[in-house]
Symmetry: C2
Subunit: 225 residues, 2 copies
DNA sequence: ATCAAAATGTACCAATTGTTACAATAAGAA
DNA sequence: TTCTTATTGTAACAATTGGTACATTTTGAT
């Protein structure tokens, strides 16, 4: 049985009371599955036949190339849908391999059933459209990011994106290892560039806090780098 | 006045007769605008308040990064929607700057009005969902491709993707210069790898025809780097 | 406080790609 | 054909990144 109050917090059901959500699920087929830490939830290339909603725990999506190297795309925490942008389309397959970060519980709704729900409730429809649009924008940004050639450019872009004109410092929530996976590079390479850029007084890293010292130079790296 | 027969060919209205499309537009506010060659249609960063459908002519989308370099150019010809994946979402702004390739006529439907149309007709809804999903998948594939580290891997992937088990040859429709741009590398680097791989008898290029000689080895490049 | 594990800094060398330049060939127009 | 331009092949060197290894620091649990 679904705990509909959890779904209130899910972007797809945002703004709908759990009582109403319960009504939407009347006569709808669905299934709930539990996964253990590390277990595979979906494999890249597999057809996406259900809407997956993470009810509990968090999952990891990564692209794995033929040589086994991975590019981590993102973590998805409860209560959020996953692979929503790949439910429809002419070739509706998972583009990423998804695995459980910890104990995970997932709600599976067949595509056709979910279509019914969207027709029943306009709010779910706009929520879902918002959700997949945001994903497109996310992928677009990711693409733009990977297009930056050098590690210096990636670092400069990352720092500028995470600070404002007023606030010149940010907290790193990821380790260098995780950052390097996001950037699609190796950890020592990232460390080397970070120390070079710090030697040039572009910024300083203390513990987990990055403080920008020369925002203008960082911008120039993207302009002429 | 809209020529509804043109819209029959638009992915968003696929499978709907023009008489029915006409009914869908009853009481719907819309606008048609003409643009001259070279004129700006939308600027990156601008909020997307309307669904844009190119009725006549073709438009060009350019992604411009901080340095002013244009990253990618996409042409959209009539009758197709543009930036459909960016209509919704929390930050619904144009990711690209769009300009007219020639004399262009564009149908502008306000977001709220288009939502009404989708609620009136389930086919438009699924068409639109398919459209955005396909776009996401396109971006995803692009990401996966850029994720291949070496030029050898990119070449191997490209060739395997364009040949079948039966047919071992393909026609190159692009010059090395264009291919290298698709791959995100320089032209001499591509040429070097192409000649190395030919020396290893993995394939041969004659004029514009590529013939695979050792498909097994190409696969191994992707498997073991 | 103490210890083990995780994370970080750094160095060395190999591999890959970029840059630049120029010759050879192919394609297209007059 | 003949000429011009675009495309391709290739070389030498520079720049960047990867791979590996190890010392140091930080973190977190006991």
């Amino acid at each position: 049985m679904i705990d509909f109050e959890i779904l209130e917090g899910c972007p797809v059901f945002k703004g709908i009371k759990h009582g109403e959500i319960r009504l939407l699920f009347k006569d709808i087929h669905y299934r709930i599955r539990a996964y253990k830490k590390g277990e595979l939830i979906a494999i890249a290339g597999e057809p996406a036949l259900h809407l997956f909603i993470v009810l509990q725990g968090s999952v990891k999506g990564e692209m794995i190339d033929y040589s086994g190297r991975s590019l981590k795309i993102e973590d998805i925490e409860a209560p959020r849908p996953l692979a929503s942008a790949f439910l429809f389309g002419t070739d509706n397959r998972f583009p990423v391999t998804v695995s459980a970060n910890n104990e995970v519980s997932i709600l599976l709704i067949p595509v056709q059933e979910f279509l019914k729900i969207m027709q029943r409730n306009a709010r779910v429809l706009t929520n879902f459209l918002n959700n997949i649009s945001s994903r497109s924008q996310f992928l677009s940004q990711k693409l733009q990011f990977l297009n930056f050639k050098t590690i210096r450019e990636k670092v400069a872009f990352f720092l500028l994106q995470h600070t404002t004109d007023r606030l010149h410092s940010m907290e790193l929530k990821a380790t260098q290892q995780q950052l390097s996976e996001m950037f699609g590079i190796t950890r020592p390479s990232l460390a080397r560039v970070l120390s070079e850029m710090q030697r040039e007084k572009l910024f300083i890293i203390e513990k987990k806090t990055v403080t920008i010292l020369n925002k203008q130079k960082l911008r120039e790296i993207l302009h002429y780098g």
